[in-house]
């Protein structure tokens, strides 16, 4: 009887083992635990672009437009982009436990905390990378402030340099998430 039970179990294990391993290395972070904050937030940005949408969307990125061409190059190979950003009217509208649900996932296998900056003015900023060997398999940016909680999760290979270069481009007005940079200083650079 033991053999009879063991055979299907082994077969199931063989079938699902690759899927389990793949899932373990998946760089997608579950952000649904933050959904309840939308009701409290004064402004919410939510982006859910999965692999299918990503494929369709890249077709709409023109090679003739310089910005779109950059974006197309940047997202080449990216399997999904997920963002949840909440801004609140008052301090402490979200709890440390909310942030911990995200951090706990980023402590998982493969994830490396690339940099973390804490400042009174801008709060805590952290960048995490999922590394598959030497290749970047995913990116997560976590920003927590007294009145802001933002998580950006890019699934798949992405270049940090190219991503940083996009600031102030893409034909999208400033989202007002960070204070305006002084123009004089920008010109100097």
């Amino acid at each position: 009887m033991k053999i009879l039970l063991r055979t299907p179990l082994i077969a199931l294990l063989l079938i699902f083992a690759p899927a389990i391993v793949t899932k373990a290395q998946d760089s997608r972070i579950q952000l649904s635990s933050l959904d309840h904050l939308a009701a409290k937030a004064s402004r919410t940005i939510e982006v859910n672009i999965d692999e299918r949408l990503m494929r369709i969307t890249t077709r709409f990125l023109s090679d003739d437009d310089a910005d779109e061409k950059k974006v197309k190059e940047l997202v080449n190979g990216v399997k999904g982009i997920y963002v949840k950003s909440f801004e609140f009217e008052h301090d402490a509208e979200f709890s440390a436990a909310d942030v911990e649900t995200i951090r706990a996932q980023l402590r998982g296998p493969g994830w490396t905390r690339l940099v973390g900056v804490a400042s009174k003015k801008d709060g805590n900023l952290e960048v995490y990378l999922l590394l598959n060997g030497e290749k970047v398999g995913g990116l997560a940016v976590l920003h927590t402030d007294d009145r802001e909680l933002t998580v950006v999760n890019i699934v798949g290979p992405v270049s940090l340099d190219k991503l940083a270069e996009l600031d102030g481009q893409l034909g999208i007005p400033d989202l007002g998430i960070e204070p305006q940079k002084p123009k004089a200083k920008k010109e100097e650079q």
Binding site: I49, L125, V152, G171, I172
Partner: protein, 172 residues
């Protein structure tokens, strides 16, 4: 010696033959009922259950996979729109309509062998096109947001003393 004795046991038997009869008589067939010895193992029938179980497991797994894929495709998360004022994008508007090539008149014998330039946008349904355009907007917002955060970190790391930067690793 009466030789008939050897045929039908009639007449007088030869003493030598009688002696042989007595000796060999102990080995004579004695009828008795057939008995199967208890210690003989019964031949096992080959069990096909493990093979059937594996086949059933594979079938169930394939079915589950198929259902999961179908459900996943049907309930793809719809893009959520973000209300951000967007200035009109300069330049040629993007269209998904395939380029129309003028068809050569039928009476022409010569045929242009230059391959047609295929549109970079394969045929998409209206719904998919709307979805893609909304997703494109989302994509731009997401990348802009990520870029802003990275630049903010970059500026802070440049302006922050090294001891305030936590856990920085070199990658690549």
């Amino acid at each position: 010696m009466n030789e008939d004795y050897l045929w039908d046991k009639s007449g007088e038997p030869d003493p030598e033959i009688q002696q042989l009869e007595e000796i060999l008589g102990t080995l004579r067939y004695q009828p008795k009922p057939f008995e199967v010895p208890g210690n003989v193992p019964a031949p096992r029938r080959r069990s096909y259950f493990p093979l059937v179980a594996i086949a059933a497991t594979l079938l169930v797994a394939l079915l589950a996979g198929g259902i999961w894929l179908r459900v996943r495709t049907r309930h793809e998360p719809r893009p959520q729109y973000v209300q951000v004022p967007t200035p009109p994008v300069e330049g040629k508007p993007i269209t998904s309509e395939p380029e129309k090539m003028p068809a050569p008149p039928k009476e022409h014998v010569a045929v242009n062998r230059v391959p047609r330039k295929r549109s970079s946008l394969p045929a998409l349904s209206k719904r998919e096109r709307e979805e893609a355009l909304a997703a494109k907007q989302q994509l731009m917002i997401a990348l802009r947001l990520a870029s802003e955060k990275l630049n903010l970190i970059h500026r802070r790391t440049q302006s922050t003393p090294a001891n305030q930067i936590k856990n920085q690793h070199r990658v690549g």
